[in-house]
Symmetry: C2
């Protein structure tokens, strides 16, 4: 049975990502989290903390893909604009909501004040459901097919745990990798293209050259939702490598 | 004299960036390279090695921004589709071009064959100018306001060196950072918002909380094209921090 492909977009929000101040690491974490659930990231965008930009991106992505995951902009400061922008994108109201407020009150009780800034983190769009934040308590939220998370990587990771069970995944695409030391990428490229053609789109192949002081080579990656086709692909790749006088080595942790 | 803002988009191309296999580090490098030249990255997108996706993104971004920088997809393999896609986006022809071919021939002479796959790297859209690749010779190219570079980070960095002189930058936005140990982000947020309002858009402020085993705090970043306004902003931020019983410390390497 061929399962459908379930696709997602990731929207990373933050001036600091565009200025170069901060290196994003959330996209990779989200993609790796979603893959075994049968959800593939098909596109990502990085926008500034600007309401118009966030609204336009959210609206473009939520109709194009099954799911949208956003990071950033739900903290307590004036430049945290995501919650209001997402509400505007959906055309719904947003205000401080009791359930979110209660979570923050419990978290800050006896330690510090729930001032006007912190209360911003309790602003939840009408109709949204909360996403638990096991790290610092201020919740994310889901509105329609859009999941709004914090940008601090440890918190993003924590919020993902409350997201997985909400998703209906499709075909799980797996990747397997052959490492070929000493084989130049250009040598093997013609055959790789022919291999992919022969599978009629069932398997996709990629080659990633590497260079180290100890030598060079290429990683050949085969990706497919069809395990049998993937097994054949690995055999074919290994044969290509041996034909060039090198020894193929399957390596793990492929994405 | 108020200079205009020159804005750029970065388009990162590669299945491996969306699958989670590869962590992009080019966006940060490009943003940091462009900032002192007076070019600000205003948006970034990450798309797959799919011609339609690349074409749509290139066309959307090149009319919206002054410059577009792409990475990835100009290698020798079948999944390197960027050059042809960019040509299609501009509606121009693409073929192996003599100047690019000559570079590759000289590079591979006596070492290995300039086979069909490697020759793909000499495919240059009509009207494009070449961008030098000091690392591995296969050139990038500029077509209109779009600069097409390789995705391997060392090569991207090398290609940037032949790009800077082609750009007409605008106002240079500088950032300065105050580190405030022990100040919770939520405490200072209200005042930060007020500070930004008071500058009427001349200075933008961001706060980035940090947590380490040794303690916590916040980095307060002020960004502006107006050096005098920036100096005042640093003084104001320092006052805010002292008012909370902490010692402000200006730290370097801000973006």
């Amino acid at each position: 049975m061929t399962q459908r492909k379930v696709k997602a977009a990731v929207l990373l929000i933050g001036d600091e990502l565009l200025s170069g101040r901060t290196q994003d690491i959330n996209l990779q974490a989200i993609a790796k989290y979603l893959a075994p659930l049968g959800v593939q990231v098909a596109e990502a965008r990085i926008v500034a903390d600007t309401p118009d930009e966030i609204i336009a991106a959210v609206n473009a992505l939520r109709v194009k893909y099954d799911y949208v995951f956003t990071t950033g902009g739900i903290g307590p400061t004036h430049d945290d604009k995501t919650a209001d922008a997402v509400a505007a994108a959906f055309g719904v109201n947003i205000d401080v909501r009791e359930d979110a407020r209660a979570i923050l009150e419990a978290h800050y009780k006896g330690r510090t004040s729930l001032n006007e800034s912190r209360l911003r983190m309790a602003r939840i769009p009408d109709g949204a459901s909360l996403i638990a934040n096991p790290v610092s308590k201020a919740p994310g939220f889901q509105l329609g097919n859009v999941f709004v998370m914090a940008g601090v990587p440890s918190i993003t990771r924590g919020m993902l745990q409350d997201i997985g069970h909400r998703l209906e995944g499709g075909a799980v695409v797996r990747a397997r990798t052959i490492r070929a030391k000493g084989v130049p990428e250009g040598d093997i490229a013609d055959d790789l293209g022919a291999l992919e053609q022969a599978t009629n789109g069932v398997v996709s192949f990629g080659s990633y050259p590497w260079f180290t002081p100890e030598g060079f080579g290429v990683h050949l990656v085969a990706r497919s939702a069809d395990a049998a086709a993937l097994e054949k692909a690995i055999a074919d790749l290994s044969a290509l490598v041996r034909a060039r006088g090198a020894e193929p080595e399957e390596v793990g942790d492929a994405a």
